[in-house]
């Protein structure tokens, strides 16, 4: 059966809009469920670990250049 362009457009609208709604509705439930589980299993938010390790010298949380910028900012400020 030959589909006209309009048929194709209608199909696209129907299935497309349907998928968007179904997917996002499922996502609503999944999110609510996830939040409940997560909130129950973690008593508090503070319990996230500080990372123990990092690759070679990559472990500074403040990037090197920022650290330097900061130090220079402070040094400059003091000089004044």
């Amino acid at each position: 059966m030959q589909e006209t362009l309009i048929d194709q457009g209608l199909n696209l609208m129907l299935y497309g809009m349907g998928t968007v709604f179904v997917f996002l509705t499922i996502l609503v439930f999944a999110t609510v469920l996830m939040s409940r589980i997560v909130t129950r299993f973690s008593d508090d938010d503070v319990d996230l670990p500080t990372p123990q390790s990092a690759a070679i010298s990559l472990d500074t949380t403040i990037p090197e250049n920022h650290r330097r910028a900061i130090e220079k900012a402070i040094a400059l400020y003091r000089q004044r």
């Binding site: 997917f23 509705t25 609503v28």
Partner: protein, 390 residues
């Protein structure tokens, strides 16, 4: 004398065609809008300048490289050629932008009120009614739109630049310039397009609805959410996986707290470089024969319609949800579901403040706002999959 003649023949004045002249004006116009009017300058400055470069007669910015029989380079291609084929035709640049956008997105407001995802879904109605409009124009021979073109035009209604570029570069690359320009222009026009629609569809009482304060969202929830979304996408909608996968990856880097240096670079150097190249690459498709035709007018018109319908659908969806729920939603935040992050959320806030100067909707509107990004990425995945099989 021969050289002089060659120089003259190679000059732009001798080579210029009317179309190129007009396109140069279009490029200058885009730069004017971007710089003077503040229209999404991060994209429209590179797109506008790319338009200029691509339309310089004889400059060869979009020439393909020439190789001899042995595969050695005889003459290199133009800059825009390489950018377009390496980054846009392959889909890499939009995906990297999505990674960066993910790293910049805070899902906190959405997680505090997941129902607002439905507003992000509703606003995608704009996409699909526009598809219908485009096929109607095509069916009656008014404009030369195929189903692939219609899908690319519809995605303008997603109000999401990289998504629009991703879809259009896959389905209708020759429309890329017009679609990208329309998408970013209307995103910039959100403060003008949306408020009248929002006011028309709501009563003053509705606009004054105060929403309860959002609950605080824990770090762990924010870490698990992008993984939840990715798993759902993996099982239900793998067609949306490229866009949403990179989006979730960026967001996970942001939230997990252990790769801050990667997240920083993603949000800054990487996304900036890719933005420049993406814009130039889009500009390279702004040639006269592709842009200066009736279809572009149709695209601009349909895009405006898409934005209006999307806005209306978001507002109406919020009103519908209020029928069935105790916790009332201010319908203005429904308009933020079109995405256009963070502009649409600010507009919702502003219109809300007009109705009630104590009513701050910004954080509430951020939920549907980012939901709109997810919604249009889903719509993009579905359309690419369905249209490819038609």
């Amino acid at each position: 004398m021969e050289q002089l003649n060659n120089l003259w023949l190679s000059s732009g004045v001798a080579q210029v065609q009317g179309g190129q002249l007009v396109m140069l004006l279009v490029g200058l116009g885009l730069l004017f809008l971007a710089i003077r009017k503040g229209f999404e300058p991060l994209l429209l400055v590179p797109i506008g300048f790319g338009t200029l470069l691509a339309n310089i007669p004889g400059a060869g910015f979009e020439l393909a490289p020439v190789f001899d029989a042995a595969g050695n380079l005889e003459s290199p291609g133009g800059l825009l050629y390489y950018i377009y084929h390496a980054g846009i035709e392959t889909g890499l640049f939009p995906l990297l932008i999505f990674m960066g956008v993910g790293a910049m997105t805070d899902f906190g407001p959405l997680l505090a009120n997941p129902r607002t995802l439905l507003l992000g879904a509703a606003a995608q109605v704009g996409i699909f009614t526009t598809v219908l409009g485009a096929v109607t124009l095509g069916h009656f021979g008014i404009m030369d739109f195929s189903i692939r073109d219609a899908a690319s035009i519809g995605i303008i209604g997603g109000a999401d630049g990289p998504t629009a570029i991703f879809v259009t570069s896959k389905l209708s690359p020759e429309l890329l310039g017009a679609v990208a320009v329309a998408a970013y222009s209307y995103m910039a026009l959100v403060p003008i397009i949306q408020p009248p629609i929002m006011r028309a569809l709501t009563t003053s009482a509705e606009r004054e609805i105060k929403m309860e304060q959002l609950r605080p969202v824990g770090k762990l929830e924010k870490i698990v959410f992008p993984l939840t979304l990715l798993v759902l996408v993996a099982f239900l909608l793998p067609d949306a996986a490229p866009l949403l996968g990179m989006f979730c990856f960026g967001n996970l880097m942001r939230e997990c707290g252990v790769v801050n240096r990667l997240s920083d670079t993603t949000q800054n150097a990487l996304i900036n470089v890719v933005t420049i190249f993406l814009g130039l690459g889009v500009g390279s498709k702004m040639s006269a024969e592709k842009f200066l035709n009736l279809e572009t007018l149709g695209i601009l018109g349909l895009g405006a319609v898409a934005f209006c319908i999307g806005t209306a659908a978001g507002v109406l969806m919020a009103k519908l949800m209020n029928r069935f729920s105790q916790q009332k939603i201010n319908p203005l935040i429904g308009a933020a579901g079109v995405s256009a992050v963070p502009m649409a959320a600010r507009v919702a806030n502003k219109v809300g403040l007009e109705a009630n100067p104590q009513n701050f909707l910004l954080m509430h509107a951020m939920g549907p706002n980012v939901a709109g990004v997810i919604g249009s990425a889903v719509a993009a995945g579905v359309m690419i999959s369905l249209v490819s099989g038609m």
